[in-house]
């Protein structure tokens, strides 16, 4: 799919992070596990202050009725969930002391 370039009103500040708006779990999982912690932290710091408002916005629509802008915000919110354990639980991108992430295959 083509990369989203716009976001709903109030979320324009997230525009520099649209490369995190990845449509599949597999892509988000790889992105997290191949990023530096500084990149993850930068996205996290930009996204989390807006997360309560983003969830409020996304609570108005079923997933399949999101507009293009709304869909990009939705994907950024999903990517935030992907990196949440890296920031809140591990303090590093991947799962410490675990098997290589490349061997774990998500179906989506």
């Amino acid at each position: 799919m083509t990369q989203a370039t716009t976001l709903p009103e109030g979320f324009e500040s997230l525009r520099p992070y649209l490369d995190w708006a990845l449509p599949t779990e597999r892509e988000r999982f790889v992105r997290r596990n191949t990023s530096e912690m500084t990149q993850i932290q930068e996205f996290w710091d930009a996204m989390t202050p807006l997360l309560p408002a983003a969830l409020e916005y996304l609570d108005q629509f079923p997933e399949d009725e999101l507009s293009g802008d709304g869909y990009a915000l939705f994907l950024l919110a999903l990517a935030t969930m992907e990196i949440a354990p890296a920031v809140e639980n591990f303090g590093e991108p991947g799962v410490p002391d675990a098997a290589d992430f490349r061997r774990w295959h998500p179906s989506q």
Binding site: E25, L78, A84, E88, D97, F101, W104
Partner: protein
């Protein structure tokens, strides 16, 4: 009636963060978490368990013949083949076969070896799909959804062919709770209902189907014996160690520092465990925010086979369905349930599959909330399988020839014992 209930001090409570209610019969949690389960099940052997069963090639071969070739095994869910023509393929290399599971025109389920009667080729090469017949790519022989022959190409050149004997060979198939079970034995000793017995009856009224419209599926080929992987999911002792960062203190606290179970019940081949929920659990800020966006579920009371001790500290159950699937219903703070499947490949490798089944979100925000649950669960499983592979390396060293298990690991002992019994029974029958 109301007085009688009060007399027994039973009452229903809502399970925190969910729409489930459970009947509380006792609040004496200390008696439950300190119980010696060997006293309840004196027939289960105590003492160290032999490492040999996790590494021996000949033991592995006996397990496959005695257990996997004659047991009811989960291959998927009915939602995967909702409509006539829907099918999926399940490869079982250790049983040297590939199966097609299909929904037929009359709505029933057929399970068949994926083998052409012409020159043996694999008929269906896709993992899943929708079709009106299965056609062999080699010479075009085709089969109906129920496995009977539809087309023999160049039919005139096969003058002696008895087409009634050329269908895809069937295996036994049945369903329970929306799970599709197969048995390679065409005349199983027990029906699926008999096989699942009291455990099946006790937990069948859980909303297995309601939570199964959507699922997350992850899989990995693990370099460990299938029982090493299984053992990792039938005890809660490890949660405070390997999972301490990801699961935090959700199942242990000062009162129950090693996450002792609230209950262990053995049901012949199968077993059920109830996991303790710590009231001191500290949610991460993300989880706290997302708790406002949980998917609404019709209220239901958990069935009598779950949380049988009736503790208000109940987090979820772990249902060990012999030989190789563990169902984790209740889901505590997840909503829905998840399952772990361990399919042997060789004595030292297995396919591990994690499936998370959850209620269907109505808004995009609820879907984001589910993503968090999915990520946490699969990160935790990644910790488990790193562990399992390291254990297998050292099991093979033989430096210790036994493992030493705690009272809380009773189900590991029981499962080893059931496999051993099945092998002995099989050997007696075949000699």
């Amino acid at each position: 009636m109301r007085e009688r209930v009060a007399q027994r001090r039973k009452h229903r409570v809502q399970v925190e963060g969910t729409n489930m209610t459970t009947t509380v019969k006792t609040s004496n949690v200390d008696d439950l978490i300190n119980f010696d389960w060997h006293k309840k099940y004196p027939e289960i052997p105590t003492g160290p368990v032999p490492v040999e069963r996790y590494i021996s090639q000949s033991y592995f071969e006996q397990e496959i013949e005695a257990v996997f070739r004659h047991s009811w095994i989960v291959v998927g869910r009915v939602q995967q083949i909702a409509l006539p023509g829907d099918f999926f393929v399940r490869n079982l290399p250790v049983l040297k076969t590939s199966l097609i599971i299909a929904r037929t025109e009359d709505g029933s389920i057929s399970a068949m070896h994926n083998m052409c009667a012409h020159r043996a080729n694999l008929v269906e090469w896709s993992n899943d799909g929708t079709t009106d017949m299965f056609s062999c790519k080699y010479h075009g022989w085709s089969y109906h959804l129920d496995g009977s022959v539809a087309v023999v190409t160049d039919e005139e050149s096969f003058p002696d062919l008895d087409q009634s004997k050329c269908g895809l060979p069937h295996v036994s198939v049945d369903t329970w709770g929306g799970f599709i079970f197969i048995n390679l034995d065409l005349e199983p000793e027990e029906s699926l209902t008999e096989y699942l017995g009291e455990l099946g009856r006790g937990i069948e009224n859980y909303p297995w189907n309601e939570f199964s419209q959507l699922r997350g599926h992850w899989q990995a080929e693990l370099r460990c014996n299938w029982k090493v992987a299984r053992d990792a999911f039938v005890e809660a002792y490890h949660a405070g160690f390997i999972h301490r960062k990801i699961l935090r203190n959700s199942t242990y606290d000062a009162r129950n520092p090693y996450g002792h179970f609230l209950d262990i019940t053995l049901y012949g081949r199968h077993a059920s465990m109830s996991v303790y929920k710590s009231p001191e659990y500290q949610m991460t800020p993300t989880r706290e925010l997302l708790s406002r966006y949980t998917v609404p579920v019709e209220p239901f009371e958990i069935p009598p086979g779950m949380n049988p001790s009736g503790s208000e500290y109940w987090h979820q159950d772990i249902e060990m369905v012999f030989p190789n699937i563990v169902l984790d219903p209740g889901g505590g703070r997840y909503g829905g349930y998840y399952s772990h499947t361990f399919t042997p490949i060789t004595a030292g490798t297995c396919l591990y599959e994690l499936d998370l089944y959850h209620p269907t979100p109505t808004t995009a925000a609820q879907r984001v909330g589910l993503e968090y649950a999915r990520v946490l669960l699969r990160d935790a499983a990644l910790e488990d399988f790193g562990n399992c592979e390291k254990a297998q390396i050292m099991l093979a060293s033989g430096a210790h020839d036994v493992m030493n298990l705690s009272i809380q690991e009773l189900v590991i002992r029981q499962q080893l014992d059931v496999v051993e019994t099945e092998i002995q029974r099989y050997n007696e029958k075949s000699s």
